[in-house]
């Protein structure tokens, strides 16, 4: 244990963080799963979805953008937070179009998996039925804007990992949408199927063509274990034998 280590508690469990870690990074390393959607371990956090909101020292804050600090008292798995997180997932389900039974991402979709994990049965909020066109101009990738949950993962990945800035926002508020760096569709951008940005989408907005059913339904990531199980497995690994 280094002298610079930071100690805090989450739901009464002690966690040790290294300097510079966010709350979510420290908890992930400790095998404690905080539900999250826009956060991706390889990308800088952006705090878009707010699913990872915890009560941190009595105030709500997103675990992905909050630096771990000594003595923090964090609540995460409370009834209220679980309900609020479920409401956010429900909001995303009704904001776009997410027909799980016939969606290519079913079983690999983090939105769907969080719905299951947080106990969302069926949305009761009113569907917004946005009109967003599908972009199939790229030879290897299609872009289904109806599925977009505005998590900004592709924006961050394209800018920081790929150095291309293929994606950005347009508009604000409920009219905000994913925008691309070309007039004639994704096919006119520098996007390539091997880009990081093509492989971080949590839903079926950015989809690699001719690849969708290589793994059949039933054998997919979250068909095997609920989302977060891979993080919680780390805790078991660190238990004394």
């Amino acid at each position: 244990m280094a002298a610079t280590d930071i100690h805090f508690t989450i739901d009464g469990v002690g966690v040790t963080a290294a300097a510079g870690q966010s709350v979510i990074q420290a908890c992930d390393a400790a095998g404690i799963y905080i539900p999250r959607l826009c956060h991706h371990p390889d990308l800088a956090p952006a705090g878009n979805c707010r699913v990872c909101t915890c009560v941190i020292n009595g105030r709500n804050g997103a675990a992905c953008v909050t630096p771990a600090a000594a003595g923090m008292v964090i609540e995460s798995a409370t009834v209220q937070l679980t309900e609020d997180r479920r409401t956010i997932i429900e909001m995303l389900f009704v904001e776009g179009e997410h027909p799980c039974p016939y969606c290519v991402a079913s079983g690999n979709c983090e939105l769907q998996a969080l719905g299951y994990r947080l106990g969302l049965v069926a949305p009761k909020l009113p569907y917004q039925w946005p009109k967003r066109p599908l972009d199939a101009t790229h030879p290897d990738i299609y872009l289904d804007h109806d599925r977009c949950i505005l998590c900004s993962r592709c924006i961050r990945a394209s800018r920081m990992e790929d150095g291309k800035s293929v994606f950005g926002w347009s508009g604000r508020g409920i009219r905000m949408q994913l925008n691309i760096d070309a007039d004639g569709g994704l096919g006119k951008t520098q996007m390539a199927a091997i880009d990081k940005a093509a492989h971080v989408c949590p839903v079926a907005c950015i989809v690699i063509k001719r690849d969708s059913y290589k793994v059949p339904n039933g054998d997919r990531t979250y068909d095997q274990a609920p989302i977060g199980a891979e993080i919680e497995a780390r805790k078991k690994e660190t238990l004394p034998s």
Binding site: T53, A62, V94, G168, G171, N179
Partner: protein, 592 residues
């Protein structure tokens, strides 16, 4: 890429092809060409070393920047509960009829685009409108033909200043100690220069002045934190993005007391060790641009800005004005910083706080216009003078913007601790039935609470006070506020982006008289989630008008309630209308 338009190149070069000045560049292009088209976006991106998608990211955020051509003359009617009770609906209808277009449309000759816009800071003289940069006030339907004729006569390049009703009333009805007497241009800074910067901060701390935007953070603490923070530069930012509907006191300060504002910023510059101050003025107040720039020039000529201020060698400080472009969220201090850096006004996560990493990542104090006026006056007259007014926790006076159903709307400087009842008496509103304190993000106050006090420890407020008489419907007004937050949500985070729209839809069902008790409970529950989960103050306070009207005016909601257990959102007869027409018959019982 073809060679860009020389005018475009000139604009870009005027701002040093600096991507940090992208908002200025975009505003200049908008003003010159009426919109920022694809080729302009391409030229700007190339000149600034950016991707086009990054330029569009910024431009598409602001209500006053367009990517497609609109009318030569933009008529933006202020839409607030106050403007509507003063007759904005009839004025809008008169424009629609005279121009032959609906709200949101452009006339075929390209002369006019007609739109609603959020509150433009004229609540005491509504109905008001922006016609390009010109403010028209106290409009009636009878004014509309003359306005249209004057715009058509003005042609392309002539200013519109001579339009009928292009007159903004000064608005200050009552001044207290802060704004009374003779105030010299440099009273504050001259007094400050007799002390060390640390002593200046100690004086500010001793006055116990707190942020006048409504949040009430102690100014002395903010300044001390900023001064102590390490950085190659420090900044003072004056937040004049007064966007809270119903407030207009900063307009008064910018119009009539701008030297005191500058004096306060200069005091802060001295105290913080800042060489640059930035004044962020909302785009709606762009009609003040020339007079503000003129005032800065005068101060430079008098040695009150620039190098060696007041003859003090080494004390260099100047002020740059940044004009906003129609985004309420930019009044949120971290969104304001993003906007100042030429980006979309999406708030930042904290920590780090601006005192540590603010403008350009450097230590920055962001203060409300009124707070800086207080700072200048505290320097000149002393902390003890200041603490003699107000309450123990809320020292000094507060500038209140009173509007709505009252005889004497305007700005009143009153001591903290004044009751809502006292305010209503000042404004001449004996019949008030509902007061919205601190704008839509504040709270709905019912007559039983009119004895409450304006103070950080009771009703904390930035000053907006909207007064409604017994003839107004509280639920209608709450819906208007819900629509305001839909228009102004930045969209960054899910709870606010989606939640504000869902709350508006919940309110629409209530207003339409189709809501059951369970609908109202669902709206209340949703409001709670939006409050708790949103990223910044906008989302966290967006449900306030709904929650506080539900709490304080339950009878208004009960009056709209449907007795059934469930009323569907779908209006079945309306949904089936097309099918019935095609089929030529109504559905049989078995079919529905």
């Amino acid at each position: 890429m073809p060679n860009p338009d020389p005018v475009l190149s000139d604009i870009i070069q005027r701002f040093g092809a600096d991507r940090g000045r992208l908002l200025d560049i975009a505003e200049a292009i908008q003003q010159r060409f009426g919109h920022i088209g694809k080729s302009a976006v391409g030229s700007v991106a190339e000149a600034l070393g950016m991707h086009a998608v990054e330029v569009e990211d910024m431009i598409s955020f602001y209500a006053f920047l367009d990517r497609t051509p609109r009318g030569r003359c933009r008529v933006r009617l202020s839409r607030t509960p106050i403007s509507l009770i003063k007759g904005a609906g009839a004025v809008a209808a008169a424009f629609e009829a005279a121009l032959g277009i609906s709200i949101g449309e452009t006339t075929p000759d390209g002369d006019f685009t007609l739109e609603w816009t959020s509150d433009i800071g004229m609540a005491d003289q509504e109905p008001a409108a922006l016609v390009n940069r010109v403010v028209l006030t106290e409009l009636t339907p009878a004014d509309v033909p003359a306005i249209i004729a004057a715009v058509r006569a003005a042609g392309d390049d002539q200013p519109l200043a001579a339009l009928p009703k292009a007159n903004v009333r000064p608005s200050l009805v009552h001044s207290g100690p802060l704004l009374s007497g003779t105030i010299g241009r440099a009273d504050g800074i001259e007094a400050a220069l007799l002390m060390s910067p640390d002593e200046v901060i100690a004086q500010i701390a001793a006055s116990r002045v707190r942020g006048r935007g409504g949040a009430g953070f102690p100014t002395g603490v903010k300044w001390r934190l900023t001064r102590k923070a390490t950085g190659s530069e420090h900044f003072i930012v004056c937040n004049a993005d007064e966007g809270e509907p119903g407030t207009f006191k900063d307009r008064v300060l910018l119009s009539a007391f701008f030297d005191v504002v500058c004096d306060g910023m200069t005091v802060a510059g001295y105290a913080l060790g800042a060489r640059q101050g930035l004044l962020y003025v909302r785009g709606e107040y762009s009609y003040l641009w020339d007079s503000l720039q003129q005032a800065l020039e005068t101060r430079r000529a008098l040695g009150l800005l620039g190098t060696g201020i007041c003859g003090r060698p080494g004390f260099d400080f100047d002020i740059r004005i940044q004009l906003g472009a129609g985004a309420y969220i930019c009044g949120e201090e971290s969104a304001l910083l993003e906007s100042l850096e030429g980006k979309r006004g999406a708030p930042r996560d904290r920590p780090p706080f601006p005192t540590e990493r603010g403008y350009l990542g450097k230590p920055t104090a962001i203060d409300n216009v009124e707070t800086l006026v207080c700072a200048a006056r505290i320097m000149a007259k002393g902390a003890t003078w200041f603490t003699a007014f107000g309450t123990a926790e809320s020292t000094g006076t507060k500038m209140m913007s009173l509007s709505g159903d009252c005889a004497r709307p305007g700005v009143y400087e009153v001591p903290f601790g004044i009751t809502v009842n006292d305010l209503l008496e000042l404004a001449g509103a004996p019949e008030a039935a509902y007061v919205q304190v601190s704008g839509p993000s504040g709270q709905a106050v019912a007559p039983k609470d009119f004895g409450r006090r304006i103070a950080y420890e009771d009703l904390s407020t930035g000053g907006s006070t909207m007064i409604f008489g017994p003839q107004r419907d509280v639920v209608d007004i709450a819906l208007e506020f819900a629509e305001f937050f839909v228009a102004e949500s930045c969209g960054w985070c899910t709870p606010c982006r989606v939640g504000t729209t869902l709350l508006k839809q919940g309110m629409e069902k209530i207003v339409a008289g189709n809501a059951t008790l369970s609908d109202i409970q669902a709206t209340e529950k949703l409001a709670g989630s939006v409050t708790r989960m949103s990223r910044c103050g906008l989302g966290q306070s967006a449900p306030n008008p709904i929650l506080t009207t539900m709490r304080n005016f339950p009878q208004a909601y009960e009056a709209r309630l449907r007795a059934e257990d469930f009323v569907p959102r779908v209006d079945l007869p309306a949904a089936l209308a097309d099918a019935i027409e095609v089929q030529g018959r109504a559905p049989t019982a078995g079919e529905i």
